[in-house]
């Protein structure tokens, strides 16, 4: 636990440095970078959605470099087996004896990039479930602890649906954030081209360690939050449920299933992280509003009417926030 304001300032400085360092390799996408950092600092998994070529893999690599964390990448394909993710027991011969030896899979890393996660079969996708939630891997009768910190950064392509296995709601709920990676602006695109084609690759220095991350997580958990702010967040989650009597009209009209209690937890802890990144020692309404979109957008299940009316979860969240002003 931090003892004084200086230590606190040091932590904030570390986070800001990390953001800046990642910014060296990734042009634009500052909000995505910040939200990824928030997820890492609050022990969450992130689902990145965006068309190919937006630098999602590069982004994850940059994060792992800046934080000096082990990184592994799994390209999900329909023929990918669970053992390809978790690892498997191999028969080896040692001292004239055959015996099983566990060979860890790519999941045994600090940051795992599950690229195009929706291309793998549900069985393989499920192999990640235990790792994401329990931070353990069970092979045979043996359970192995994953390294700390551990997080899964999964990507999915929103435009190719053929031959894909959309993630079920239960699995989506295990992702702390769902981040929509947008196409860069013209200026950002130019910068990207300059950086990757005309110049040498940017040199990144690690500014944080795994221990720092664990320490920062502790600080974030202790961050105070006022009752009014807490109530604001709870009301927001509550209002996503169409079955409650006083649900807002937009919810009743467009939402099939509201956000789970896990969403409420996610909002509070990520809002705390965001407050710290904003050089503040308490959570504000603005923090709640900031994290509401990535936390709730994959947890609000819209009905057909919403799809036909072109109403997205983001629009519903914006409406709910507006009503709560």
């Amino acid at each position: 636990m931090v003892q004084n304001e200086q230590e606190m300032q040091q932590i904030i400085y570390q986070i800001q440095s990390c953001e800046e360092e990642i910014g060296k390799a990734i042009i634009g996408q500052k909000a995505i970078i910040r939200q990824m950092l928030i997820a890492i600092l609050t022990d969450g998994n992130v689902l990145l959605e965006g068309v190919p070529g937006l630098g999602k893999t590069q982004m994850v690599k940059a994060v792992s470099k800046a934080m000096n964390l082990a990184f592994s990448r799994i390209q999900f394909t329909p023929d990918l087996m669970p053992a390809d993710v978790t690892g498997t027991n191999l028969i080896i011969r040692e001292e004239n004896q055959n015996k099983f030896q566990f060979e860890p899979g790519p999941v045994f890393s600090n940051i795992v990039l599950a690229d195009e996660i929706n291309r793998a079969t549900p069985k393989t996708q499920s192999a990640l479930l235990e790792a994401m939630q329990e931070k353990t891997v069970t092979v045979g009768k043996q359970t192995y602890l994953l390294p700390k910190p551990f997080m899964v950064l999964a990507t999915q392509n929103p435009i190719e649906n053929e031959g894909t296995y959309p993630l079920p709601e239960a699995q989506l709920d295990r992702f702390l954030f769902k981040l929509n990676v947008r196409f860069p602006s013209k200026e950002e695109l130019k910068e990207i081209v300059n950086l990757t084609v005309n110049r040498e690759e940017a040199v990144m220095n690690p500014v944080m360690t795994a221990e720092d991350i664990l320490r920062i997580r502790q600080v974030i958990y202790d961050m105070p939050i006022a009752d009014a702010v807490m109530d604001y967040a709870m009301n927001l989650v509550y209002n996503t449920h169409p079955e409650v009597a006083d649900a807002p009209e937009v919810t009743k009209k467009y939402v099939t299933n509201g956000a789970s209690p896990r969403a409420a937890q996610a909002i509070i802890k990520t809002a705390k992280a965001r407050a710290l990144m904003e050089n503040r020692y308490n959570v504000s309404f603005e923090d709640i509003q900031y994290v509401a979109f990535p936390v709730l957008r994959h947890r609000i299940i819209c009905n057909f009417e919403a799809i036909s009316d072109g109403v997205t979860p983001d629009k519903i969240i914006a409406q709910l926030l507006k009503q709560q002003q």
């Binding site: 105070p224 006022a226 009752d227 702010v229 308490n282 504000s284």
Partner: protein
């Protein structure tokens, strides 16, 4: 609580106090805006609709707005947490509310948070952050409404004038009703009145009260007062109980107000005194005698005053006789002869008083200043003639003298009745005929009808106004029927004819400018005809 907590609480309190002041001022302004808005609406209404209390109500609306605004402002004061949140909304990002809620927590991050809050609070000027000065637009609107209200209050309109008039009338009605109520209360307490008398008087007074309450114009009020004065006067004439009579006279006088002349008052007083003396016998108690003596003394003084003004020697003489009789009555030495002498003196004084009153009325009529008075003057004069004739015939007969007095009553609404009484007594009818010129004419016709049991209308001719067109006593083409006379034409029942006459007479007097007292006399006359 540590120093940090205390300091934070102090800030929150300061913010709360400031916000409370701001809320009260703001709501006060809103209240005034609403109040002046309502005042303007009321003032606008009063421009077109008579509303006497419009300005008062408008001011009440403004005052109510001020009070409501202040009360709402006080009720809407924020509590400590709300105050903290209000400050946080000014860019503090929920620092203050968090610190306030962390009061008592001593962990390192709580302390860091509180220090951070305090450091930022010290940079803030709460007065600047929450200025008390209201928004210029709202102030301008309030002053604008106030100016419009003031302007409208001074705009003269016909509706405002009407409102003033109506209020004055309502006030007068209230005063008059209060007088009637007072009379009712006194009559109710009079034990000397029998239950029947009491009910009769109370019924009259209640009816008068209702009549007064229903009026809504000055003219109607004046007419109602006149009617009530006449009715009450008539009732007083019929009342034997002195106290009740005095009360009724007093009410009638107050209803007549300035219209009641001194001579008429004196005449009425003398008339009442005559009645008291007639009623006085051996059973009359000393207190009653004393009261009558006082009354006589008072009337003697009034008679003397009038005699001094008019130089009437008869009145002067009568006043002296009355004074002597009053003194003797007080001393208990009043002889029968003195009593008779006093009665004669009172009768003479009464005659003089009425003559003076008639003269006054005649003067009014001749001057043409008041058509109604002129009419009264003629009637009074006729009545007086009747009385004089009667007196002349009856000479020294006191009882007949009293009848003559009744004949004199022909001036009022009861004259017809009194006149009829005279007729019944076999008098020559001068009293009656003198009182009403039409009376004798009608009387003749009625007599004919009764003898013949039938009235017919020659040729059944009607004028356009529905009146009968024919000649009284015109026997041309008449037929004899059942021992009486009948005329060719359709026979009409006596009651129907009288009904038609009555209806015409009623319509005529109601559409005329005759004083209501005179109208009542006419109506009473036809009413009696109907009842016979």
């Amino acid at each position: 609580m540590n120093g940090l907590d205390a300091e934070i609480k102090k800030y929150v309190k300061r913010v709360r106090r400031r916000l409370s002041e701001k809320a009260v001022l703001q709501m006060l302004l809103f209240g005034m805006l609403a109040g002046f808005g309502a005042a303007v609406v009321i003032s606008l209404i009063s421009l077109f609709v008579p509303w006497y209390f419009a300005v008062q109500y408008a001011l009440i609306a403004v005052a109510a707005g001020v009070v409501a605004g202040m009360v709402l402002g006080i009720l809407k004061r924020p509590d400590m947490k709300q105050a903290a949140l209000r400050l946080d909304a000014q860019g503090f990002q929920e620092r203050l509310i968090t610190s306030y809620e962390l009061a008592g927590k001593e962990d390192s991050i709580s302390i860091i948070q509180k220090r951070d809050t305090l450091a930022r609070l010290k940079l803030v000027n709460i007065r600047k952050l929450f200025p008390l000065k209201p928004k210029g637009k709202q102030l301008a609107m309030m002053f604008g409404l106030a100016a419009v209200f003031l302007g409208l209050s001074f705009v003269p309109t016909a509706a405002k004038d009407r409102a003033q008039e109506q209020h004055a009338i309502a006030q007068q009605v209230k005063d008059e009703v209060a007088k009637v109520d007072d009379a009712i209360e006194k009559i109710e307490k009079m034990e000397e009145l029998s239950q029947q008398e009491k009910e009769e008087l109370l019924s009259l007074l209640q009816q008068s009260r209702k009549e007064l309450s229903d009026v809504d114009t000055a003219e109607a009020l004046e007419k109602a007062k006149e009617r009530i004065a006449v009715k009450v006067d008539q009732q007083a004439d019929q009342t034997d109980t002195r106290a009740a009579r005095q009360e009724l006279r007093s009410l009638a006088d107050s209803m007549q107000g300035e219209n009641q002349s001194a001579s008429k008052q004196l005449a009425q007083g003398l008339q009442d005194l005559q009645k008291d003396l007639e009623n006085m016998d051996d059973t009359t108690g000393d207190a009653e005698k004393q009261a009558i003596a006082d009354e006589m003394q008072q009337l003697a003084e009034q008679a003397k005053q009038q005699a001094d003004q008019t130089g009437d020697s008869n009145m002067q003489q009568a006043a002296q006789s009355m004074q002597q009789a009053a003194q003797a009555m007080r001393n208990g030495t009043l002889s029968q002869q003195q009593l008779q002498s006093a009665k004669q003196a009172i009768a003479n004084a009464n005659q003089s008083a009425q003559g003076s009153q008639t003269a006054n009325n005649n003067q009014n009529g001749q001057n043409g200043q008041n058509g109604q008075n002129n009419q009264n003057g003629q009637n009074n004069q006729n009545g007086q003639n009747g009385q004089n004739n009667q007196n002349g015939q009856n000479g020294q007969n006191g009882q007949n003298g009293q009848n003559g007095q009744n004949g004199q009553n022909g001036q009022g609404g009861q004259n017809g009745q009194s006149g009829q009484a005279s007729t019944g007594n076999g008098q020559n009818g001068n009293g009656q005929g003198g009182g009403y010129n039409t009376g004798s004419k009608d009387g003749t016709e009625r007599t004919s009808a009764r003898n013949g049991k039938m009235i017919t209308i020659p040729n059944r001719q009607f004028q356009e106004n529905g009146r009968l067109d024919g000649k009284v006593n015109d026997s041309s083409g008449s037929l004899t029927q059942r021992g009486g006379e009948a005329w060719s034409g359709t026979s009409i029942d006596y009651q129907q004819v009288i009904g038609n006459y009555s209806k015409n007479a009623y319509n005529k007097v109601e559409g005329s400018n005759y004083p209501s007292g005179v109208q009542d006399i006419v109506k009473s006359y036809f009413k009696d005809l109907n009842n016979e």
